[in-house]
Subunit: 211 residues, 2 copies
């Protein structure tokens, strides 16, 4: 747990340090684990890439959040959180400050999202109990994944606020965990349609029972 | 060659037949070959999926073509063709009616695009010499790929006109051939940045020399 906290603290430090460089608009932090994840070196490692633009995937997500906010006057992240809490069946694990769930609309089987419960949470200021609980949450989620699915390859990536640029204020940072169980077909990437055989409710149940 | 012609003729027939169903907006035709391509059955096969919307990748390409046309009053496809003919070094093979080249901006190493040379070409009307030469072109490209790179997995997909819907008239149908040599990292898909280690001029040279 302490090592995971150290890693998260390092993420934050590097993010904040790179934010001081006005050439950068986004800091992409992710971890690839296992052969199928695209990991290029064998030992455990994270990757951090500072970019002069917002990655397409994040940009689209922010535009969607902005569109939702303009129509509903509510944050889509707050609404997702509320819905998951009400319906319960897709929740994998939660503690006081974070929640992990299999999203209602998933791209990959056993995909998990970790949301802060406080909509004002800022990853760049994370410390104390919030940091501890995020480490606990990450450890728990990845342990469940490992036990539930025989140590699969996975990627997780932090979806953080852009830097040095105006962006949708309704955006909330979060973490996506994507196990690599099936090979994404060309169809998925080209169309934006994803074929997922395991419903999120079922995946969440397996993950809850895994530990 | 005759078998490839028959397959292409079948593509055309199914495309035209499905175009009669107003629920569909796009007919996606592609072939996955080999384990890494995401092929789900072992014997050679193509896939055809009729969709109620234009796939995201095609939509973005058409928007880009429309943007280019509005700014330059020229088709980006015509300009690409002209540039490839002038610079020559990325051309893999050409016949009277088609050209195969490694695109200047590629997403994957040894990616190849097949363009009709006639900007008025319509896949839905392809027949006679154009059909024969497309078959020849496809056979040649895939044979070169096989010989050059030890029979790699690949995908090819037809980028055809949408159906039953208004679309950019500056769009030109074409075929993309994408060998699966490297594992696309999460970075590629999320950012829209692709890391390619082999320059297209070098890939084209290897492919030219392969047969």
């Amino acid at each position: 747990l302490e090592e995971i906290q150290n890693v998260l603290r390092m993420y934050k430090q590097r993010y904040n340090d790179l934010s001081g460089d006005s050439r950068f608009k986004y800091v992409l932090i992710f971890k690839n684990f296992g052969e199928s994840s695209g990991a290029s070196i064998e030992h455990g490692h994270s990757q951090l890439i500072a970019l002069p633009m917002i990655p397409k995937y994040v940009q689209e997500k922010m535009e969607g959040a902005g569109y939702y906010f303009n129509h509903h006057k509510r944050s889509v992240f707050a609404d997702i959180l509320e819905q998951e809490k009400q319906e319960k069946q897709r929740i994998v694990f939660e503690n006081e400050k974070f929640i992990c769930f299999c999203p209602f609309v998933q791209r990959f089987p056993f995909e998990m999202w970790i949301f802060p419960k406080n909509m004002d949470s800022k990853f760049q200021q994370i410390e104390g109990a919030e940091l501890t609980q995020l480490a606990e949450m990450l450890k728990d989620s990845l342990s469940r994944l490992k036990n539930c699915l025989a140590n699969p390859s996975y990627n997780f990536y932090l979806q953080l606020d852009p830097i040095n640029i105006e962006y949708e204020k309704s955006f909330l940072w979060h973490i996506e965990i994507v196990p690599k169980l099936t090979r994404a077909s060309e169809l998925d990437w080209d169309t934006g349609f994803y074929v997922v055989h395991t419903p999120p409710e079922q995946a969440a149940r397996y993950l809850r029972e895994a530990k």
